[in-house]
């Protein structure tokens, strides 16, 4: 296990180092699919240059990073490449912990296995299969072209992903304090990880054997504890940011920017063209609708998946990546890294071939249609917009497919794998 992992790390580092030194690095760091106004490296350098000139980086509309990023890069701007190369490996730590997690789950199933029908045993995973999951997760993340592009472009999305991965690692390990602090840091970086509070809470409750019952005091006791850690760390981090530049300018520049979407630079998301073509008097309404759209799946999903918080985390991260205001391929790579953890769902996936074709085709067409619009002038913005729509549609299909497969497997675990109708013939399963 250690040897293949080391080999994988060496290969990943080599690819990134080669690309950093080649002329492709300049090209990749300007691609709009890989960087957005929120996390472009060019803007970080610009912010630092403004600070050197004596002007606050938040006085213009170029810099939208949080003050802690200024702290970090002020000292490491010359070693930026190393910082960005190290960050994906945090996601590896996550993968190393998926194995014990599954062991935990297996124990849980072992306790309840007498409740399962006999024919479901093939649905449960053997330890041998689960042994290779961490390696597969690491491979899916480190060798994913999206991750490599994001790392070579030095987009701070990689750092955000690292924080989220560390948060998941601490949650799975069971340390509520660290998990709360890291979640606060992730929320501070971009607001959307706020929705990960619910799955983390559910995981801890499950781990501590506290039933999720609104009337039980033990539930409220733990919830308040965790909320206190989270909110407290958030307040402390925000206060530290205030003291860096001595003003609250960063709040409208960072969070106001994320919520009100003033910059319409094209990216792989749905927001830019929608708000470029929006009638002025509907703008506020649709901003609210689109932002609420990211947050409001939390409660229904938490209710449905309260027994399965790890899958809930995956779903939440996927929803954030698809519906956030400035998505990049780095965000997509984060939830794709989880997919090997659910490889046992493969037999229930219905659209996987279609989805993979759509995603591959769109990834290939993005640079082509961008070039035709911006450089050749023979296409217009509609072409790029269409591929954006298709890419997001493919992602939605992927996520809902995995959700379907997960629910179906749970159903089979309870009711048996080979179902029969009343008259004894083979049954089909539908959603009703």
């Amino acid at each position: 296990m250690a040897a293949p992992l080391t080999l994988l790390l060496i290969v990943a580092v080599t690819i990134r180092a080669v690309l950093f030194r080649s002329s492709l690095a300049e090209l990749i760091s300007e691609r709009v699919e890989v960087v957005s106004p929120l996390n472009a490296w060019k803007r970080v350098v610009e912010g630092l240059a403004l600070l050197d000139l004596g002007v606050s980086p938040y006085s213009g509309d170029v810099f939208h990073e949080t003050p802690l990023m200024i702290y970090l890069f002020h000292f490491t701007v010359d070693y930026a490449e190393i910082v960005f190369m190290v960050s994906p490996y945090f996601v590896d730590c996550l993968s190393c912990f998926l194995a014990p997690l599954d062991r935990f789950r297996k124990q849980k199933y072992a306790l309840e296995s007498d409740r399962y029908p006999a024919d479901c045993l093939e649905l449960l995973r053997s330890p041998k299969e689960m042994f290779y999951i961490p390696l597969k997760v690491a491979m899916f993340y480190l060798l994913n072209p999206f991750t490599i592009l994001s790392c070579v472009a030095k987009s701070t999305c990689g750092l955000n992903n690292a924080i989220i991965a560390l948060f998941i690692f601490c949650t799975l390990k069971g340390s509520a304090l660290l998990s709360g602090i890291l979640l606060a840091l992730a929320t501070y970086q971009s607001i959307y990880p706020l929705t990960l509070f619910a799955p983390a809470l559910l995981f801890f409750l499950q781990r501590l054997y506290i039933p999720v019952n609104l009337r039980r005091s033990s539930f409220w006791f733990f919830t308040l504890q965790y909320a206190f850690i989270y909110v407290g760390s958030l307040v402390v981090i925000t206060g530290l940011s205030f003291f860096l530049l001595g003003s609250w300018d960063f709040i409208p520049s960072v969070y106001g920017f994320i919520f009100s979407v003033p910059d319409l630079t094209p990216n792989i998301g749905l927001f830019w063209y929608f708000f470029a073509e929006m009638f002025e008097h509907f703008r506020l309404f649709f901003i609210c609708v689109f932002q609420i759209n990211v947050f409001f799946y939390t409660i229904p999903l938490s209710i449905k998946l309260k027994e399965h918080p790890v899958f809930l985390i995956f779903m939440q991260i996927a929803i954030i990546s698809i519906f956030k205001s400035y998505p990049t391929v780095g965000d997509v790579a984060l939830y794709m890294a989880f997919l090997p953890a659910w490889s046992h769902l493969y037999r229930f996936l219905r659209n996987i071939f279609l989805v993979s074709c759509v995603l591959l085709a769109c990834s290939a067409l993005f640079p082509v249609l961008w070039h035709l619009w911006i450089y050749a002038g023979s296409a217009n913005s509609n072409f790029y917009y269409a591929i954006t729509l298709l890419f997001n549609f493919g992602q939605i299909l992927l996520v809902s497919d995995y959700f379907y497969a997960y629910l179906r497997r749970e159903h089979h675990l309870i009711h048996g794998l080979y179902l029969k109708k009343k008259d004894g013939t083979e049954a089909t399963l539908v959603l009703k």
């Binding site: 002007v55 929608f274 073509e277 450089y375 809902s400 629910l407």
Partner: protein
């Protein structure tokens, strides 16, 4: 009794009659300078100056109500908005410094307005907005397009040209409209501001069909408070209206280096303006052109670092007009000498595609041995996002770090970028200033009706004190010609020059303007697909699919239930 009453009334008259206030002195001067250019073009510069001994801004004094030579519309504007200095210019064409030398009064293409407000003004932005709208009405120009997205507050480039000790740049506002077109509609109200209108004096020459058929046309109004004497014991308000025009050698001159007033303006002069205290025509004869009618009056002046000789024609004297009561000047020259301008600047956009680009400003210092500093001011609209970390200044292919940089980044849809730098130019060199920018995608309502024409970026301003090869005169005399007294000369060895570069035309990526409804529908469809799939999976559960029995069977079962008989399977 009658005498007593008379005496009483006399006393009453003496007590109650207030001494009549001394009328404020005002005077009007007009002049025309004609300078032949070496390329065969001819440069004519009109200046009309009104000096008035009054104070628009003082509250103690009664509000000014009796206007004689000074135009009432401008006087009211000055008092209402507490304006200390106002400079507005409308220019059609671009001044070609390398071919024509330095102009007497530089101006950028389009409209330019810069105003110093009095330090008692509390809401400068509000005053600025109202002022631009009022001026827009006075000059029939679309100055109402000046708003906070194209106004800047330069910190060093536009110091007051008149009196002024307070130089807090919070009271300065500068804006240009490079897209503004100048035509007869703007000339007519400008001419109306003159005391004699266009009926007498030099203004009769200003006919639009000839003035706009030229390479360069610029009309300006400059208002500022000045000292009336060396010790500055009395102050006065000065209104200068200037009109600079360059007639083209080939289109107006028929290819001959032979010009006359009639050929330039299709009019001749018949009389001076009766309200003018001085009315003169100066012709630059330094390169010895043939001039008729001849005159003995000569004037030597050092202007723009060059000693020039002028023939003077005094229009207030009747003998200038001769027997025909009309004055037509004839000018013929052959020479090709021209003083090479010491400071010259160019600007262009580099790069390809609609995503990024680079602005290159090239400044030439043609002085053979002296280096001097220049102040470069750039105001770039917000939709071209400048990256100041890519700013490079190179002279003679070596890095030249500016000693002073003032950068105010743009706020989207609120204010433009302002970049001011003090650069030291080495002698006889070319300095290149480069900065990269990214083009933004705007909302579909923010594009002009012809979006593929492009967006204009206003000219850069290069201001410098250029070392002079000839000693300038710092003496203050009342009868100095107007063209040499516009910019106050503070020292002998240098003169102030302001050079404007070309405006830029930049294309931005455009969305498809026919698509708003389609885009809303399609994007909402994709979001709804996501919502629908999640809704299905969240609210429904898996069930074994029992097909519902066909209609006949269901009907049969229904009847059986009524009869109380066992149902079918």
């Amino acid at each position: 009794m009658a005498a007593h009453r008379c005496g009483l009334s006399l006393v009453c008259i003496l007590i109650f009659s207030t001494p009549a206030p001394a009328p404020a002195r005002d005077q009007f001067q007009e002049e025309l300078v004609i300078r032949p250019l070496h390329s065969g073009d001819i440069y004519a510069s009109f200046q009309f100056r009104t000096l008035w001994d009054t104070d628009f801004l003082q509250e103690r004094q009664k509000k000014v109500s009796h206007y004689r030579l000074f135009p009432k519309s401008l006087g009211q504007v000055l008092s209402k908005f507490s304006v200390r200095e106002l400079h507005i210019s409308f220019t059609q064409g671009f001044w070609r410094t390398m071919q024509w030398g330095q102009p007497f009064i530089p101006s950028p293409p389009g409209a330019e307005l810069w105003v110093w407000f009095h330090h008692t003004v509390s809401d400068v932005d509000g005053n600025w907005k109202e002022l631009t709208n009022v001026l827009s009405g006075i000059f029939c120009a679309s100055l109402n397009f000046i708003d906070m997205t194209n106004t800047v507050q330069p910190s060093a480039s536009f110091k007051p040209l008149g009196l002024g000790n307070a130089t807090d740049h919070r009271f300065l506002r500068y804006a240009t409209l490079p897209r503004e077109i100048v035509c007869t509609e703007n000339l007519t109200p400008w001419k109306k501001l003159l005391p004699c209108g266009s009926k007498a004096g030099l203004a009769v020459l200003m006919k639009s069909e000839k003035l706009f058929h030229s390479s360069f046309h610029s009309q300006a109004v400059h208002i500022r408070p000045i000292c009336q004497d060396e010790q500055c014991t009395s102050k006065a308000w000065e209104l200068r209206q200037t009109l600079n025009v360059v007639f083209d050698h080939y289109t107006s001159g028929q290819g001959k280096k032979e010009w006359s007033l009639f050929k330039m303006f299709s009019r001749t002069l018949t009389e001076a303006c009766p309200l003018a205290s001085s009315s003169k025509v100066y012709v630059d004869i330094t390169d010895n052109p043939e001039l008729s009618p001849a005159t003995h009056l000569l004037s030597r002046a050092v202007v723009l670092g060059d000693r020039r000789t002028y023939s003077v024609y005094d229009l207030t004297r009747a003998e200038t007009f001769g027997q025909l009561r009309s004055f037509n000047l004839l000018l013929r020259w052959k020479g090709d000498n021209m003083l090479r301008p010491l400071l010259h600047a160019e600007r262009y956009v580099a790069g390809f595609g609609l995503q990024t680009g680079e602005i290159h400003t090239v400044i030439y210092n043609n002085h053979p041995y002296r280096a001097f500093p220049v102040l470069l001011m750039d105001s770039v609209p917000w939709y071209l996002q400048l990256y100041v970390h890519t700013l490079t200044v190179t002279s003679k292919s070596r890095d030249n770090k500016p000693s002073y940089i003032h950068y105010q980044p743009a706020k989207d849809r609120h204010r433009p970028h302002l970049l001011e730098m003090l650069i030291q130019l080495p002698p006889h060199s070319m300095t290149e200033v480069t900065v990269q920018f990214e083009r933004a995608l705007l909302k579909w309502t923010e594009y002009t009706p012809d979006p593929n024409h492009g967006f204009y970026v206003g000219s850069s301003v290069v201001s410098a004190l250029v070392p002079s090869m000839v000693a300038m005169s710092t003496n203050f005399t009342q009868d100095q010609p107007l063209f040499s007294s516009f910019v106050p000369v503070k020292e002998e060895s240098s003169y102030f020059v302001r050079v404007y570069t070309e405006p830029l035309l930049v294309n931005l990526p455009t969305p498809d303007f026919s698509m708003p409804y389609n885009v809303i529908c399609l994007t909402c469809t994709v979001v709804a697909v996501g919502y629908g799939s999640f809704y299905n999976l969240l609210t429904r559960t898996f069930q074994v699919d029992e097909p519902s029995p066909p209609l006949a069977k269901r009907l049969a079962n229904f009847i059986r239930r009524i009869r109380g008989v066992p149902l079918l399977a």
